[in-house]
């Protein structure tokens, strides 16, 4: 897989999560999407997930209304 498709696949993974979450969210409300920065393992890293969200915003598919950190 070339680099472009690798990055697009990351965006695809995030798009699917957002689509799923949109079905759980009341119409008109913003979707709440959590990224866990303590997660290390196979698959999409949290840093790349955050970047994918920013890229999807640039592509005009979403608008990030707010973002913030929560610590436990």
């Amino acid at each position: 897989m070339n680099l472009e498709n690798k990055v697009k696949k990351e965006q695809w993974e995030v798009l699917q999560k957002l689509k799923e979450e949109s079905y759980r969210t009341v119409s008109g409300d913003p979707i709440q999407h959590w990224v866990n920065f303590d997660f290390f393992g196979p698959g999409l890293s949290p840093a790349n997930e955050a970047k994918a969200l920013e890229k999807l915003e640039e592509l005009g598919a979403i608008r990030i209304v707010t973002q913030g950190w929560e610590y436990e």
Partner: protein, 172 residues
């Protein structure tokens, strides 16, 4: 722990347009959204014959396996192996044989001890081969088990459990 919360508004029609474009590129396959498989390894008929805690681990394994979770499935198998041997020795009243200074032997020693109590001795050899796989799932940082690895190991353990706990009754 640190989590980042994004509040996101979906912008139509661009979102659906991009979704369709990526769908045609990559298809629906996604590790987080896999369809659960319908198969389980440990049938209810076997679970009913097992000590309660061994049966609970089997049920939890069936859930993990049917949801295509190889890591958690492997770790449950790793738990199941020594637990079932200890329960077997307790069942036959020979728990003292697998203890030293009030501690149970490790899994490898437990397997060595249980050999003579197996009806089918080939099971020992097969389980030993899979023990490396089970151990690697916990201790190796380069080994990534897949669901077919899990299935192979689990079937061997199922045979072991049947040997341990299912009494063959012949209807004459």
């Amino acid at each position: 722990m640190s989590n980042r919360l994004f509040r996101i508004e979906i912008l139509q029609p661009r979102f659906d347009q991009l979704y369709g474009e990526y769908l045609s590129l990559f298809g629906e396959a996604n590790t987080d959204l896999q369809t659960p498989n319908e198969r389980t390894i440990f049938p209810d008929s076997l679970i009913k014959s097992l000590p309660k805690d061994v049966g609970e681990v089997c049920k939890e394994f069936n859930f993990s396996f049917s949801n295509n979770k190889p890591f958690s499935s492997m770790l449950l198998l790793r738990r199941l192996l020594p637990l079932s041997i200890v329960r077997k020795f307790q069942k036959i009243g020979k728990e003292d044989e697998i203890k030293q200074d009030d501690d149970y032997f490790d899994t490898k020693q437990l397997l060595g001890k249980v050999q003579i109590h197996l009806k089918d001795k080939r099971i020992y050899k097969e389980i030993i081969d899979y023990k490396l796989l089970l151990d690697s799932s916990q201790h190796s940082y380069t080994f990534n088990p897949v669901i077919t690895d899990v299935e192979g190991a689990a079937i061997k353990l199922r045979v072991l459990l049947e040997d341990f706990f299912v009494d063959l009754v012949l209807n004459t």
